[in-house]
């Protein structure tokens, strides 16, 4: 009964976005539900392959269709309120494929409850932007819906609060700086442009993980625990480590259904199979995010980085032992962060021309600003008045403090006991510094 209500509510939620999304998710779920049952009884590989391909086909068609309507998934992709024609299709398609493969391999028993399956895809906290749930675990949860305890409500609400904070206080404050940099609006150069470029990754993290927090919190209110999607990615000490901390469920899916099978199939080629596997993994995840040369570049960069890491892993380990971790770790984190930001530059840029223009701006002779106010702060915030400076100082202080104390904040803010002091501070910062309305039209023209 509860399942029905949740399923129905989820469909209504999707309906607010578009009726087409509802229709499509229903059709997709029913078809995959049926084929899950079929494949568990009939081990026909051809059927598995064709159903998987059909799911993939629809995913790309509906995303490509998006393109022809003049929307650039490249720059806008990080706006989680997806502009996809069918809401959530990128996520539930992967879940569907996972389900088909698992039932075919008898690793799970197909569900008999169609509503359970529809909910598996449409569950409103996670339909918009994940996390991508494992069929085994999530279907089991849905089959045996827990009753939300008081602890669930408390933790859930707090998690939603943190998510809102991250989005409205941090991500939204950084957003105009990033768009100004990427639109090449202001004649900034060198270090200033580079910081603007890096801030995209920061913004993306707070925006995306903020939404995920809201998703996790909402699910928790119902007593359901979803899979974590982030694990302090800015503390990653290598690119490989980064991908174990960023969009975890996507990469777990890719590892399980793409990477391992490919590498295993070509295992006789030893390390080349690993590299080939990595190539496929990143090319396809680039495609999953969007179609374009920029995503291809992003993918290739990561292939390069990880291949290097895989091939030099033992050497680097030996090297790390020789140097104190107090030096090695911060340097690794610093290098990793910059490499990630470099690749994200292509991810965010509207086009390769835009990306190269930004790079040209960055790598100039006078890299560091001569005058910090005029050459660094002012171009980033779009003005050099005291007011502008005050606003950008606040933005930087808030997000840097948050990143440093993130673990503590989570511990204290999302616990069974409500920590009054922490929440009072969070609320006050939220009210005083949160962005409720993009008063940007005013900001831009303010002198």
């Amino acid at each position: 009964m509860k399942l029905l209500i949740i399923t129905f509510a989820s469909l209504i939620f999707i309906g607010f976005y578009s009726w087409f999304s509802v229709v499509f998710i229903l059709i997709s779920s029913c078809i995959n539900f049926y084929f899950g049952k079929y494949l568990s009884l009939n081990k026909k590989k051809s059927v598995l392959i064709s159903t998987v391909l059909t799911n993939t086909f629809f995913l790309f068609v509906l995303k490509y269709f998006n393109f022809s309507q003049g929307l650039n998934l490249g720059a806008a992709n990080f706006q989680i309120s997806s502009i996809a024609v069918a809401l959530g299709i990128s996520y539930y398609t992967l879940q569907n494929i996972a389900y088909l493969i698992e039932t075919y391999n008898d690793r799970i028993k197909p569900t008999d409850n169609i509503f359970q399956y529809i909910c598996f895809n449409a569950f409103f906290p996670k339909v918009t932007c994940g996390p991508i749930e494992s069929p085994k675990l999530f279907l089991k949860t849905l089959g045996n819906l827990p009753i939300a305890s008081k602890e669930d409500w408390i933790c859930g609400i707090q998690r939603i609060g943190i998510g809102l904070f991250k989005k409205m206080v941090i991500a939204d404050r950084i957003a105009p700086i990033v768009s100004r940099t990427y639109e090449l609006d202001v004649p900034s150069q060198g270090f200033t442009t580079w910081i603007g470029i890096c801030l995209f990754t920061v913004q993306l993290y707070f925006d995306f993980s903020g939404y995920i927090d809201i998703a996790m919190g909402s699910a928790r209110l119902l007593g359901i625990r979803l899979t974590e999607n982030f694990n302090h990615p800015f503390r990653a000490t290598s690119i490989s480590d980064f991908w174990r901390r960023w969009h975890i469920t996507l990469f777990d899916w890719i590892k399980l259904y793409l990477y391992f099978p490919i590498v295993y199939y070509f295992r006789s080629y030893k390390k080349w199979s690993v590299i080939f596997g990595l190539g496929i993994v990143f090319l396809l995840s680039g495609l999953w995010h969007g179609i374009g040369l920029t995503f291809l570049t992003w993918a290739c960069l990561h292939i390069l980085f990880i291949t290097y890491e895989v091939l030099t892993k033992q050497k680097r380990k030996k090297y790390a032992k020789k140097i104190s971790s107090y030096i090695y770790t911060p340097i690794s984190i610093f290098i990793t962060f910059n490499l990630v930001c470099f690749s994200e530059l292509f991810f965010r840029s509207k086009s390769m021309t835009n990306a190269f223009a930004l790079l040209e701006r960055t790598f100039t002779f006078s890299f560091f600003p001569k005058n910090w106010t005029i050459d660094f702060w002012a171009p980033l915030i779009g003005g050099g008045s005291q007011e502008h400076l005050f606003n950008i100082y606040c933005t930087f202080i808030i997000f840097i403090l948050f990143i440093i104390f993130e673990k503590t904040i989570y511990q204290k803010a999302i616990s069974k006991k409500i920590n009054i002091l922490v929440w009072l501070i969070l609320f006050l910062v939220f009210f005083v510094f949160g962005i409720f309305e993009s008063g940007e039209e005013f900001i831009y023209l303010q002198f």
Binding site: N105, F260, V263, Y264, R267, K270, V274, V310, K313, K317
Partner: protein, 79 residues
């Protein structure tokens, strides 16, 4: 029979992970061994396949969680 397999597998582990002192245990997992990563894992599996003249299908390989699982599988297919 099982102890022979055990000995052979231990030898392979020692070669692949470059550790002559490695002691194979049933509950050994990747985290326990310094050199166990995606590359050496491939090495490990292919070396075992070569040694025992078997082909381990993918669906079985991903179910292995410990060295013990691997050894169980080998004994079951080399009877």
């Amino acid at each position: 029979m099982k102890s022979e397999i055990f000995e052979t597998v231990q030898k392979i582990f020692r070669t692949v992970f470059e550790d002559d002192n490695l002691v194979l245990q049933k509950n050994l997992i990747a985290d326990d061994v310094e050199m166990w990563d995606s590359l050496t894992h491939i090495d490990l599996i292919t070396s075992i396949e070569e040694e025992f003249s078997i082909q381990i299908p993918f669906e079985k390989v991903i179910l292995f969680e410990t060295a013990g699982d691997l050894i169980e599988y080998i004994s079951s297919v080399t009877k």
